[in-house]
């Protein structure tokens, strides 16, 4: 797939909660084909400590208005700077990068925690178009950190777990009671903290359900040139930025 380096304009920067914000970016030309699970590399100008670009998943795409949405967690200097960016500011992106998820037509279970939800929304939309039925489990620390319910609810069932029990079932996502009927699903998709994805991979393997996870390795180039972002696979070191970020768990050594 062709990759581009282009300037977008920030047309909205909305606070989601104390840790997350949503950027809407627009450009004049029509957008190229974009697959769910692909990401952009954003250049953050005027942030003195941010030297390299930052990889961020594509959260949503509006082909009619030529818009991309990014759901970002304030993690360090670069993302903090992005959270304060004002409307009208140009943002330079290299995109669309990476491989993307495989789309099932059956019953899909999407499991996300934190900024792992970012790629899952565009995935849910694509799955819906593909005729799949969608159930999403969102896991967070507490109710005040919960977001994204409405958008996922418009596409299918949504289940919630919170670590403190303030909303939905108490515990981690993998402890949700839906896992007692896990064999009714045809495909599992997950993005989030590594221990969560590994726990899901274990369940998927036990029940022999196809499962894809999206990795967030540290990246320098995002285009397969530096070989910094590798993960261990059954065929040796592979770049997460080009062979991933989405991997079938059967290809990963540590899953």
């Amino acid at each position: 797939m062709k990759k581009y380096v282009q300037d977008f304009t920030v047309i909205a920067n909305e606070k989601v909660n104390s840790d997350y914000f949503m950027l809407t970016l627009q450009q004049e030309a029509p957008l190229p084909e974009i697959r769910a699970g692909q990401f952009v590399e954003v250049r953050i100008d005027q942030a003195p400590d941010t030297f390299l670009r930052r990889p961020i998943s594509i959260h949503d795409v509006d082909f009619v208005q030529h818009q991309l949405r990014l759901l970002v967690k304030i993690n360090g200097t670069g993302t903090k700077h992005l959270s304060r960016i004002s409307n009208g500011t140009p943002l330079n992106l290299v995109y669309p990068l990476g491989n993307g998820f495989t789309l099932t037509t059956g019953r899909a279970l999407l499991i996300g925690g934190g900024c792992g939800l970012a790629p899952l929304y565009y995935l849910a939309k694509q799955l819906k178009q593909n005729g799949a039925s969608i159930t999403t489990i969102i896991g967070t620390r507490c109710q005040s950190m919960l977001f994204g319910l409405d958008q996922f609810q418009s596409l299918g069932d949504v289940l919630v777990t919170t670590e403190d029990g303030s909303c939905g079932e108490q515990g981690f996502v993998t402890q949700h009671s839906i896992f007692q009927q896990i064999e009714t699903f045809n495909f599992l998709y997950s993005c989030g903290p590594e221990p969560m994805m590994k726990a899901i991979a274990k369940v998927a393997r036990q029940h022999q359900i196809p499962c894809e996870v999206s990795l967030e390795n540290m990246m320098a180039c995002g285009i397969g040139a530096c070989l910094c972002c590798v993960t261990e696979t059954n065929s040796g070191h592979q770049c997460v930025c080009t062979q991933g970020p989405v991997f079938n768990i059967n290809d990963l050594k540590n899953y």
Partner: protein
């Protein structure tokens, strides 16, 4: 006035002085989406060894102020896969394709150089005696004059085209090493490779790289690189390819003034995949403004006031 951007390294001619640094530009193919590769002076492909190498464990990268550390460790599929699978895909480029030859022993360097010598569309090699990220060989050859001269001479005996030797900055006297390499029969030197560095995460009390130490690149190293190019320019007669932290045409011009005949762009390719073409345009622009007819006249053209 049209500026002549052509430069040459011994017999080998470059349409402009801008090359890409090994390990930062893949095999060129990765950048085809963003630029016309044929407009470059040359591309130097990823470090190539005798056998397939998996490289070091993740994490291999840490961002640092105005730069980055890497510890890739020469991951590559080996010279035979390069020749059979990669070379056919890039040999049509209308630019100088140069292979960065790496190894852990003199025998390995020689074996790789001999094989590359047979490829018609590869007019030069860059002998990497300066990789800080492998346990054996690599930088060890580039930090001692006798060892450097020996490996260069051994490769010179089997390699018949342009032989560039890439130097490490991790030495006390870069001029001496450059002279040893010149004595060994090198046609040119390129410098600098990365500087040995380290990064620690204080919160977790852990090193950020799996190898603990790694190679520093980017603007952070530029003043050191510039100084070394200048020192080497005054120590050897062979041409110099300068690199280390170049992110703009002005940076590139500075390296030429310090004594470089050509330059390489490395880490900056990650920040802007079109940077190479912007640097070429900017250098041309500089020449117009300064009424420079032949860009090669900038090499070593640094003006130093002397008090008579």
């Amino acid at each position: 006035m049209i500026t002549d951007l052509n430069v040459s390294i011994q017999q080998l001619s470059f349409k402009n002085p801008v090359l890409t640094a090994s390990g930062t530009f893949g095999y060129g193919i990765e950048f085809e989406y963003f630029i016309d590769i044929n407009r470059l002076g040359g591309i130097i492909v990823k470090g190539t060894t005798g056998q397939h190498r998996e490289g070091n464990r993740y994490p291999r990268m840490a961002e640092t102020p105005s730069g980055m550390l890497n510890a890739v460790g020469l991951q590559n599929k080996g010279v035979d896969v390069f020749i059979n699978d990669i070379y056919p895909k890039i040999q049509h480029y209308d630019t100088n394709i140069i292979v960065n030859v790496s190894g852990s022993s003199i025998e390995e360097y020689v074996a790789v150089a001999e094989k590359i010598d047979t490829l018609n569309q590869i007019p030069a090699i860059e002998l990497n005696i300066s990789c800080p990220n492998v346990k054996q060989g690599g930088m060890a050859f580039g930090t001692q004059c006798a060892a450097a001269e020996k490996v260069v001479r051994a490769v010179r005996d089997v390699y018949h085209k342009t032989l560039i030797v890439k130097l490490t900055p991790n030495v006390t006297n870069i001029a001496e090493i450059a002279q040893a390499v010149e004595n060994g029969g090198a046609d040119a030197v390129s410098l600098i490779n990365t500087m040995l560095g380290m990064s620690i995460d204080a919160e977790t009390r852990r090193p950020r790289l799996s190898t603990i130490t790694g190679g520093l690149s980017g603007p952070a190293v530029k003043p050191v690189a510039l100084r070394m190019v200048w020192q080497v320019y005054h120590a050897v007669k062979i041409p110099i390819i300068g690199l280390g932290g170049i992110t703009s045409a002005t940076d590139a011009i500075e390296f030429m003034l310090a004594g470089a005949t050509a330059i390489e762009i490395g880490t900056a390719n990650f920040l802007d995949p079109q940077i190479t073409l912007k640097v070429i345009e900017g250098m041309e622009n500089y020449c117009q403004r300064h009424h420079v007819e032949h860009i090669k006249d900038l090499t070593g053209a640094l003006l130093i006031e002397t008090n008579h």
